[in-house]
Protein backbone atom coordinates (compact mmCIF):
# COMPACT_ATOMS: atom_id res chain seq x y z
CA UNK A 1 0.00 0.00 0.00
CA UNK A 2 1.47 3.32 -1.03
CA UNK A 3 -0.71 6.34 -1.66
CA UNK A 4 -1.14 10.03 -1.05
CA UNK A 5 -4.37 11.52 0.22
CA UNK A 6 -4.90 15.21 -0.41
CA UNK A 7 -7.79 17.44 0.60
CA UNK A 8 -7.38 21.21 0.31
CA UNK A 9 -4.26 22.00 2.36
CA UNK A 10 -4.09 18.60 4.06
CA UNK A 11 -1.96 15.78 2.71
CA UNK A 12 -1.32 12.33 4.12
CA UNK A 13 1.36 10.01 2.75
CA UNK A 14 0.47 6.38 3.43
CA UNK A 15 3.05 3.63 3.02
CA UNK A 16 4.71 0.78 4.91
CA UNK A 17 7.72 1.78 7.04
CA UNK A 18 11.08 1.12 5.38
CA UNK A 19 11.73 -1.77 7.75
CA UNK A 20 8.20 -3.12 7.29
CA UNK A 21 7.41 -2.76 10.98
CA UNK A 22 4.31 -0.58 10.61
CA UNK A 23 1.93 1.10 8.20
CA UNK A 24 2.83 4.77 8.32
CA UNK A 25 0.60 7.78 7.73
CA UNK A 26 2.63 10.99 7.47
CA UNK A 27 0.38 14.03 7.95
CA UNK A 28 1.30 17.43 6.55
CA UNK A 29 -0.29 20.85 6.10
CA UNK A 30 -3.54 21.81 7.80
CA UNK A 31 -6.69 19.92 8.68
CA UNK A 32 -9.44 22.49 8.97
CA UNK A 33 -12.40 21.01 7.12
CA UNK A 34 -15.89 21.57 8.51
CA UNK A 35 -16.42 17.81 8.91
CA UNK A 36 -12.99 16.14 8.92
CA UNK A 37 -14.39 12.73 9.87
CA UNK A 38 -16.39 12.53 6.64
CA UNK A 39 -13.26 13.23 4.65
CA UNK A 40 -10.88 11.10 6.67
CA UNK A 41 -13.07 8.08 7.40
CA UNK A 42 -12.50 6.34 4.03
CA UNK A 43 -8.74 6.86 4.44
CA UNK A 44 -8.84 5.55 8.00
CA UNK A 45 -10.91 2.53 6.97
CA UNK A 46 -8.56 1.58 4.17
CA UNK A 47 -5.48 1.94 6.37
CA UNK A 48 -7.17 0.05 9.18
CA UNK A 49 -8.12 -2.83 6.88
CA UNK A 50 -4.59 -3.04 5.45
CA UNK A 51 -2.95 -2.92 8.90
CA UNK A 52 -5.32 -5.56 10.28
CA UNK A 53 -4.73 -7.87 7.32
CA UNK A 54 -0.93 -7.42 7.46
CA UNK A 55 -0.96 -7.60 11.28
CA UNK A 56 0.91 -4.30 11.45
CA UNK A 57 0.53 -1.38 13.83
CA UNK A 58 -0.66 1.91 12.36
CA UNK A 59 1.83 4.70 12.91
CA UNK A 60 0.73 8.32 12.43
CA UNK A 61 3.23 11.17 12.24
CA UNK A 62 1.94 14.68 12.88
CA UNK A 63 5.27 16.46 13.33
CA UNK A 64 4.88 18.42 10.09
CA UNK A 65 1.31 19.51 10.70
CA UNK A 66 0.82 23.29 10.81
CA UNK A 67 -2.64 23.29 12.33
CA UNK A 68 -5.69 21.14 12.95
CA UNK A 69 -9.09 22.09 14.25
CA UNK A 70 -10.90 20.50 17.17
CA UNK A 71 -13.12 18.50 14.80
CA UNK A 72 -9.98 16.75 13.58
CA UNK A 73 -9.23 15.75 17.18
CA UNK A 74 -12.75 14.31 17.36
CA UNK A 75 -12.05 12.31 14.18
CA UNK A 76 -8.88 10.93 15.78
CA UNK A 77 -10.86 9.86 18.83
CA UNK A 78 -13.20 7.95 16.53
CA UNK A 79 -10.21 6.27 14.91
CA UNK A 80 -8.73 5.33 18.28
CA UNK A 81 -12.00 3.62 19.17
CA UNK A 82 -12.26 1.80 15.83
CA UNK A 83 -8.69 0.54 15.92
CA UNK A 84 -9.10 -0.68 19.48
CA UNK A 85 -12.15 -2.68 18.39
CA UNK A 86 -10.24 -4.21 15.48
CA UNK A 87 -7.14 -4.96 17.59
CA UNK A 88 -4.84 -2.77 15.51
CA UNK A 89 -2.22 -0.95 17.54
CA UNK A 90 -2.03 2.83 16.98
CA UNK A 91 1.10 4.91 17.53
CA UNK A 92 0.86 8.69 17.37
CA UNK A 93 4.03 10.76 16.94
CA UNK A 94 4.05 14.52 17.46
CA UNK A 95 6.53 17.37 17.70
CA UNK A 96 6.90 18.12 21.40
CA UNK A 97 8.80 21.32 20.63
CA UNK A 98 5.54 22.79 19.32
CA UNK A 99 3.45 23.71 22.33
CA UNK A 100 0.12 23.33 20.51
CA UNK A 101 1.02 19.79 19.40
CA UNK A 102 2.31 18.85 22.84
CA UNK A 103 -0.90 20.04 24.52
CA UNK A 104 -3.18 18.36 21.98
CA UNK A 105 -1.43 14.99 22.05
CA UNK A 106 -0.59 14.91 25.76
CA UNK A 107 -4.31 15.31 26.38
CA UNK A 108 -5.04 12.29 24.17
CA UNK A 109 -2.93 10.17 26.52
CA UNK A 110 -6.11 9.86 28.56
CA UNK A 111 -6.98 7.10 26.04
CA UNK A 112 -3.77 5.13 26.56
CA UNK A 113 -4.33 1.77 28.20
CA UNK A 114 -1.95 -0.77 29.77
CA UNK A 115 -2.35 -3.10 26.78
CA UNK A 116 -0.42 -0.58 24.65
CA UNK A 117 -3.04 -0.48 21.89
CA UNK A 118 -2.55 3.30 21.81
CA UNK A 119 0.90 4.80 22.27
CA UNK A 120 1.71 8.50 21.98
CA UNK A 121 5.26 9.74 21.47
CA UNK A 122 6.57 13.30 21.57
CA UNK A 123 9.90 14.05 19.96
CA UNK A 124 12.16 17.07 19.93
CA UNK A 125 11.16 18.58 23.25
CA UNK A 126 13.47 21.43 24.21
Amino acid sequence: MKQTFTHQSLNIEISPADDGSALQMIWGGKSNARSPLQILEPVFQEAQAYAAEAKLPLEMHFQDMEHFNSSTITALIALIQQLRDSKVQLRLHYNAALKWQKMSFDALKVFETPDGMLQIFGKGEA
Binding site: R34, H67, N69, S70, S71, W100, M103, A107, L108, V110
Partner: protein, 163 residues
Protein backbone atom coordinates in the same frame (compact mmCIF):
# COMPACT_ATOMS: atom_id res chain seq x y z
CA UNK B 1 -1.85 46.35 29.45
CA UNK B 2 1.37 47.88 28.23
CA UNK B 3 1.26 51.33 26.67
CA UNK B 4 4.22 50.47 24.45
CA UNK B 5 2.38 48.00 22.22
CA UNK B 6 -1.27 48.41 21.43
CA UNK B 7 -3.00 46.88 18.44
CA UNK B 8 -6.47 46.21 17.12
CA UNK B 9 -7.61 44.08 14.21
CA UNK B 10 -11.28 44.33 13.29
CA UNK B 11 -12.99 42.76 10.33
CA UNK B 12 -16.58 42.21 9.20
CA UNK B 13 -16.82 38.69 7.84
CA UNK B 14 -18.94 36.77 5.40
CA UNK B 15 -20.00 33.47 7.04
CA UNK B 16 -18.16 31.22 4.60
CA UNK B 17 -15.99 28.34 5.79
CA UNK B 18 -12.88 29.22 3.72
CA UNK B 19 -12.76 32.66 5.36
CA UNK B 20 -11.91 31.02 8.68
CA UNK B 21 -8.50 29.81 7.52
CA UNK B 22 -7.81 33.12 5.78
CA UNK B 23 -8.46 34.96 9.04
CA UNK B 24 -6.57 32.45 11.19
CA UNK B 25 -3.43 32.89 9.12
CA UNK B 26 -3.92 36.66 8.96
CA UNK B 27 -4.11 36.86 12.74
CA UNK B 28 -1.16 34.48 13.09
CA UNK B 29 1.00 36.57 10.75
CA UNK B 30 -0.05 39.83 12.36
CA UNK B 31 0.75 38.59 15.86
CA UNK B 32 4.05 37.11 14.69
CA UNK B 33 5.10 40.61 13.74
CA UNK B 34 4.34 41.81 17.28
CA UNK B 35 5.22 38.95 19.64
CA UNK B 36 8.46 36.97 19.97
CA UNK B 37 6.67 33.91 21.37
CA UNK B 38 5.44 31.81 18.43
CA UNK B 39 3.52 29.51 20.80
CA UNK B 40 1.46 32.47 21.96
CA UNK B 41 0.74 33.44 18.34
CA UNK B 42 -0.27 29.84 17.54
CA UNK B 43 -2.55 29.85 20.56
CA UNK B 44 -4.36 33.09 19.72
CA UNK B 45 -4.78 32.10 16.07
CA UNK B 46 -6.23 28.74 17.17
CA UNK B 47 -8.68 30.59 19.44
CA UNK B 48 -9.66 32.81 16.53
CA UNK B 49 -10.36 29.91 14.19
CA UNK B 50 -12.27 27.83 16.76
CA UNK B 51 -14.52 30.81 17.61
CA UNK B 52 -15.11 31.56 13.93
CA UNK B 53 -15.92 27.89 13.25
CA UNK B 54 -18.56 27.97 15.99
CA UNK B 55 -20.00 31.17 14.58
CA UNK B 56 -20.29 29.80 11.06
CA UNK B 57 -21.68 26.47 12.28
CA UNK B 58 -24.15 27.71 14.85
CA UNK B 59 -24.95 31.31 13.87
CA UNK B 60 -28.32 32.31 12.47
CA UNK B 61 -27.58 33.02 8.83
CA UNK B 62 -31.12 32.71 7.48
CA UNK B 63 -33.04 35.61 8.96
CA UNK B 64 -30.40 37.96 10.20
CA UNK B 65 -28.18 40.87 9.32
CA UNK B 66 -24.82 39.37 8.40
CA UNK B 67 -23.09 42.65 9.21
CA UNK B 68 -23.24 41.57 12.86
CA UNK B 69 -20.62 38.91 12.14
CA UNK B 70 -17.34 40.46 13.27
CA UNK B 71 -13.92 39.48 14.50
CA UNK B 72 -11.93 41.76 16.74
CA UNK B 73 -8.45 40.93 18.03
CA UNK B 74 -6.89 43.54 20.26
CA UNK B 75 -4.38 43.91 23.03
CA UNK B 76 -0.90 44.81 24.11
CA UNK B 77 2.29 42.98 24.96
CA UNK B 78 0.81 41.32 28.06
CA UNK B 79 -2.57 40.13 26.84
CA UNK B 80 -4.76 39.67 23.80
CA UNK B 81 -8.54 39.68 23.58
CA UNK B 82 -10.35 37.83 20.81
CA UNK B 83 -13.98 38.88 20.37
CA UNK B 84 -16.28 37.22 17.86
CA UNK B 85 -19.87 38.40 17.45
CA UNK B 86 -22.51 36.79 15.28
CA UNK B 87 -26.30 36.72 14.94
CA UNK B 88 -28.02 33.84 16.73
CA UNK B 89 -31.47 32.38 17.06
CA UNK B 90 -32.19 33.05 20.72
CA UNK B 91 -34.26 29.87 20.99
CA UNK B 92 -31.88 27.49 19.26
CA UNK B 93 -30.58 24.33 20.90
CA UNK B 94 -27.11 25.12 19.53
CA UNK B 95 -27.00 28.43 21.39
CA UNK B 96 -28.22 26.80 24.59
CA UNK B 97 -25.56 24.12 24.29
CA UNK B 98 -22.83 26.66 23.61
CA UNK B 99 -23.73 28.79 26.63
CA UNK B 100 -23.92 25.66 28.78
CA UNK B 101 -20.48 24.62 27.58
CA UNK B 102 -18.98 27.96 28.62
CA UNK B 103 -20.60 27.64 32.05
CA UNK B 104 -19.49 24.02 32.38
CA UNK B 105 -15.86 24.88 31.66
CA UNK B 106 -15.94 27.37 34.54
CA UNK B 107 -17.19 24.71 36.93
CA UNK B 108 -14.06 22.59 36.56
CA UNK B 109 -11.08 23.15 38.80
CA UNK B 110 -8.98 23.98 35.76
CA UNK B 111 -9.39 24.02 31.95
CA UNK B 112 -7.34 20.84 31.51
CA UNK B 113 -9.94 18.86 33.45
CA UNK B 114 -12.76 20.39 31.40
CA UNK B 115 -10.98 19.44 28.18
CA UNK B 116 -10.23 15.88 29.34
CA UNK B 117 -13.83 15.49 30.41
CA UNK B 118 -15.06 16.48 26.96
CA UNK B 119 -12.60 14.11 25.26
CA UNK B 120 -13.94 11.25 27.36
CA UNK B 121 -17.55 12.23 26.67
CA UNK B 122 -16.92 12.16 22.92
CA UNK B 123 -15.37 8.70 23.18
CA UNK B 124 -17.90 7.23 25.60
CA UNK B 125 -21.01 8.61 23.93
CA UNK B 126 -19.69 8.11 20.41
CA UNK B 127 -20.35 11.80 19.72
CA UNK B 128 -17.94 11.88 16.83
CA UNK B 129 -20.28 13.78 14.54
CA UNK B 130 -20.80 16.58 17.05
CA UNK B 131 -17.48 17.85 18.29
CA UNK B 132 -18.30 20.61 20.83
CA UNK B 133 -14.62 20.46 21.65
CA UNK B 134 -13.67 23.92 20.41
CA UNK B 135 -14.48 25.91 23.55
CA UNK B 136 -12.84 23.42 25.97
CA UNK B 137 -9.81 23.42 23.66
CA UNK B 138 -9.69 27.22 23.72
CA UNK B 139 -9.80 27.25 27.51
CA UNK B 140 -7.17 24.51 27.82
CA UNK B 141 -4.68 25.13 25.02
CA UNK B 142 -5.30 28.86 24.98
CA UNK B 143 -5.21 29.03 28.79
CA UNK B 144 -7.75 31.80 28.71
CA UNK B 145 -11.00 32.95 30.21
CA UNK B 146 -14.11 32.70 28.03
CA UNK B 147 -17.11 34.96 28.42
CA UNK B 148 -20.31 34.67 26.40
CA UNK B 149 -23.40 36.86 26.28
CA UNK B 150 -26.32 37.43 23.95
CA UNK B 151 -27.37 41.02 23.34
CA UNK B 152 -30.23 41.88 20.97
CA UNK B 153 -29.93 38.63 19.03
CA UNK B 154 -26.15 38.81 18.71
CA UNK B 155 -23.83 36.39 20.49
CA UNK B 156 -20.61 37.91 21.79
CA UNK B 157 -17.81 35.58 22.82
CA UNK B 158 -14.69 37.10 24.31
CA UNK B 159 -11.50 35.38 25.33
CA UNK B 160 -8.58 36.88 27.17
CA UNK B 161 -5.12 35.32 26.73
CA UNK B 162 -2.11 36.37 28.73
CA UNK B 163 1.31 36.35 27.11
Amino acid sequence: MSQDICFRIEAPIAPNWPNIELLRTSVLNCLASIFQDSSFCDSVSMITSELLENAVKYGDWDDSDHSFFKLRVSGGEDQVQVHVSNPVDAGSADLKSLLETVEQIGRFENPALAYQNRLKEIAERGEVGVSRLGLPRIAFEGNCDIKAEVVDGVLHIRTLSRN
